[in-house]
């Protein structure tokens, strides 16, 4: 018994050491730099002025052409805070405009002006790429010219905008949902087989993302290779966690609630260890930082997102088949159903649970890596996802593998589609409210077995 418990201590040091080995000396900042096409005569810079005035300068380009062509003859006006017109001008043959603010720099510093562009003076069939640019507020803070550039392109508002946006949101929601589903399987499997709600599951997701980042940015491996290694290391992490920590605790008869609080301790511990080594900054993998989206109809999809979604689908299908058809999968479902009965019918429950921890952590790590690939990562990337994963698992039915998948996809769709009606900063709130409502109406979740749970 004592030996087992010292193993727990050893494991904690082991995982510290593991991170230490791969510790970054300093987090590499990888910034995505957008390449801007430059044209010879487009947006030609005027000669330097040497007077004490401030101008609002900029350029209008038609981004449908490559390189972008200048747009001539568009009228712009500048209005001050009182609503008085203080300057106006038109774009020249190179697409440039130059609006001089009245008075010296001293007079205009600290003022706020609104730059309005007149869409009626655009060439036929041309519109602002970003319709919000029609009025731009500028605040003069330093004694330099203010630069504003406008992109002109095809009309983005002719179709029913709500429908287009809905389609966009549906697709991004589906992608987010597939990721959530992969992330949720581990939590649901562990709950099903051991009854433990793992509050440190978010840190398992982060583990994959951060391990891949260390392999990628510190050891210089290609992102894909780093991702594969990260999944393997995650699997080892899950295996080690079960063998070194959870199995001894189960043997010892530690209660479920005590274990739940241990997961909270583990979550706090791991999250801060992550921050210790990687800092509080956001990071990106070094490959695939700039991608050109594919335009399909009115929807734009990046190949990266599509690939990530494809990987998710394949993983979900493989896991489903494995759980349904293989011996070990059947054993897992049996243990989920009734551990005592499974044990008495000859299933090695401990082995099943260890496998569940290993596979579940590997899947969580994969989800973390894929999430980091699409959205970037920091030390608490998984912690931020934790409640959504909880929502997914509860919606689908705690302990049900299919439930976790369906719940994940539904929650993903819900948070993205809900932004049509609610501010996007509150999109997670919608998912959390759904979680509470599901418990009110159908506590066992969509696919859970109806049983007396209280």
């Amino acid at each position: 018994m004592r030996k087992r418990l010292t193993a727990i201590g050893l494991l904690l040091f082991a995982c510290l050491a593991l991170v230490l080995i791969a510790a970054p000396a300093a987090g590499a900042d990888v910034a995505a730099t957008a390449s801007s096409p430059s044209a010879a005569e487009t947006c030609k810079k005027p000669p330097q002025r040497d007077d004490d005035t401030i101008h609002i300068v900029g350029c209008l380009t038609d981004t449908r052409d490559d390189p972008p062509s200048p747009v001539e003859g568009v009228k712009l006006t500048v209005v001050d805070e009182a609503g008085k017109k203080v300057a106006e001008g038109t774009s020249d043959a190179t697409g440039r405009f130059d609006l001089k603010l009245p008075g010296t720099a001293f007079d205009v510093l600290g003022n706020t002006y609104t730059v309005e562009i007149d869409p009626d003076t655009f060439p036929e069939g041309s519109y602002l790429t970003n319709p919000g640019d029609i009025k731009n507020q500028v605040h003069i803070q330093i004694d330099t010219d203010i630069a504003i550039n406008y992109d002109i392109g095809p009309d983005v508002t002719t179709d029913d905008p709500l429908w287009d946006q809905a389609l966009d949101n549906l697709i991004s929601g589906l992608f987010a949902g597939l990721l959530l589903a992969v992330a949720a399987i581990g939590l649901s499997l562990v709950f099903g087989t051991t009854g433990l709600t793992n509050f440190a599951h978010g840190e398992l997701i982060s583990f994959g993302a951060l391990a891949a980042f260390l392999f990628n940015a510190e050891l210089g491996l290609h992102t894909i290779l780093a991702g594969i290694l990260a999944v393997l290391v995650s699997a080892a992490f899950g295996f080690g966690q079960d063998v070194g920590l959870w199995k001894p605790l189960r043997k010892r008869g530690t209660g479920i609630v005590a274990m739940m609080i241990i997961t909270i301790g583990l979550s706090i511990f791991l999250r801060n260890v992550y921050q210790y080594f990687i800092g509080a900054d956001a990071h990106q993998y070094t490959d695939y930082t700039t991608v050109v989206p594919w335009e399909i109809g009115s929807v734009s999809i990046t190949p990266k997102d599509l690939l990530v979604a494809l990987v998710c689908v394949i993983v979900l299908v493989v896991v489903s088949l494995a759980v349904q058809l293989t011996r070990l999968g059947k054993a897992t479902r049996a243990v989920s159903d009734n551990p005592a009965l499974a044990a008495s019918s000859g299933i090695n429950v401990d082995l099943v649970i260890t496998v569940v921890w290993t596979v579940g952590t590997a899947l969580a790590g994969l989800a973390g890596f894929l999430f980091g690939l699409t959205q970037g990562l920091d030390y608490q990337v998984g912690f931020k996802l934790l409640l959504l994963v909880f929502a997914a698992v509860t919606l689908g039915g705690l302990g049900s593998i299919w439930g976790a998948m369906i719940g994940g996809v539904l929650i993903g769709l819900l948070i993205e589609v809900s932004t049509l009606w609610i501010p996007s900063e509150l999109k997670y709130v919608g998912a959390l409210v759904v979680l509470i409502l599901v418990l009110l109406v159908r506590p066992q979740g969509l696919l859970g077995r109806p049983e007396r749970v209280g």
Binding site: T254, N272, L426
Partner: protein
């Protein structure tokens, strides 16, 4: 290097406003978890609705300070009812998930840009402590000294501490009396064996709800003190960690013990700030004891949280009853 200053600053923290706030929150959790076995992971939400009721109504609507205290308590009661209705009939872990989710939802909504007009977004509410500060009879720094060293607090802080620990004492007395009563014995019965209590004809659901409301009210008091002590209540004060700290305090001192949260809070904050100061000293200055390649000063500030996670784990593994808890009384397993 002045190590004695580490000791005095640690004492200032161990008895200071933070300890008061988290002690009150932990007293609430003691009612929930220690006595009834309810896993409320959303204590931060009870604190937040109370602190924001106080802050927003006083500073934005100009309400009377004492009236808004009542409103804040009422808000905590409403929150308890909202959380309890869907979850108290279910297994313990459902309550845990729902409360942590609800706490996050409350924090996101109150801190949102959409409601900035009422709650100032991420900056939080401020400018609501005047009525409280006007009662402050202290006008110079107060504290105590041993040898050449003094432990002292600024007048307003000292006022917060004195009133705070008084409120803590009253709360402990209330908990003591409640748990000695037949009502309290029913709660403990629910914690140990819900079905047995049900078979005796008690309405378990109703008792759990009462427990959730009462513990939530203690949480609301913690929220008021959080706002008053820092003269500000912002979303970052009420993150999930806030609840987890309160749990650590409760488990450190011993759950289901009246004075457990008090002892836990003093030890917790002493430990936390002591550790912080030690690592700060080790990494600070021109020629730090720990070289920068091992630990920089920003990494040093994380050491206390890393240690906290470890302490929470080791506590639950080796001594789940806490320092003063009784292992036989509290079988830490609500299933």
């Amino acid at each position: 290097m002045n190590w004695i200053s580490v000791l005095t600053q640690t004492l200032e923290q161990a008895l200071g406003p933070s300890a008061v706030i988290y002690c009150l929150a932990a007293i609430g959790l003691n009612v929930h978890f220690g006595y009834t076995g309810l896993l409320n992971f959303g204590q931060a939400a009870f604190m937040m609705v109370a602190a924001y009721s106080l802050g927003s109504l006083v500073s934005k609507a100009g309400w009377n300070f004492w009236l808004t205290i009542l409103v804040g308590l009422a808000a905590a009661v409403v929150l308890a009812l909202l959380l309890g209705v869907p979850t108290l009939r279910l297994r313990a872990d459902y309550l845990a998930i729902v409360t942590i989710a609800a706490a996050e939802a409350v924090r996101l909504v109150l801190g949102s840009v959409t409601l900035k007009k009422y709650f100032n977004g991420q900056d939080g509410v401020f400018g609501f402590t005047d009525s409280f500060a006007a009662l402050n009879p202290f006008n110079s720094s107060m504290g105590f000294s041993f040898g050449d060293n003094t432990v002292s607090w600024r007048p307003y802080q000292f006022f917060v501490i004195v009133t705070g620990w008084t409120v803590v004492a009253i709360c402990c007395l209330i908990v003591f009396l409640l748990m000695r009563s037949p009502w309290g014995r029913v709660l403990k019965g629910i914690r140990e064996d819900e079905d047995a209590v049900r078979s005796l004809g008690k309405n378990v659901y109703s008792y759990k709800m009462q427990s959730l409301v009462i513990g939530g009210l203690f949480g609301a008091l913690a929220g008021f003190y959080s706002g008053l002590a820092y003269s500000n209540a912002s979303p970052s004060d009420f993150v999930a960690e806030t609840t987890f700290y309160a749990y650590t305090i409760l488990l450190l001192g011993g759950a289901a013990r009246v004075l457990g949260p008090v002892v836990g809070a003093i030890i917790f904050w002493g430990f936390l700030s002591g550790l912080d100061l030690v690592f700060d000293k080790l990494t600070g200055g021109g020629d730090p004891i720990l070289p920068a390649w091992i630990m920089t000063s920003s990494q040093a500030s994380l050491m206390r949280l890393i240690a906290l996670g470890l302490v929470l784990m080791l506590l639950m593994i080796y001594r789940p009853q806490g320092i003063f808890g009784n292992r036989r009384e509290l079988a830490l397993d609500a299933r």
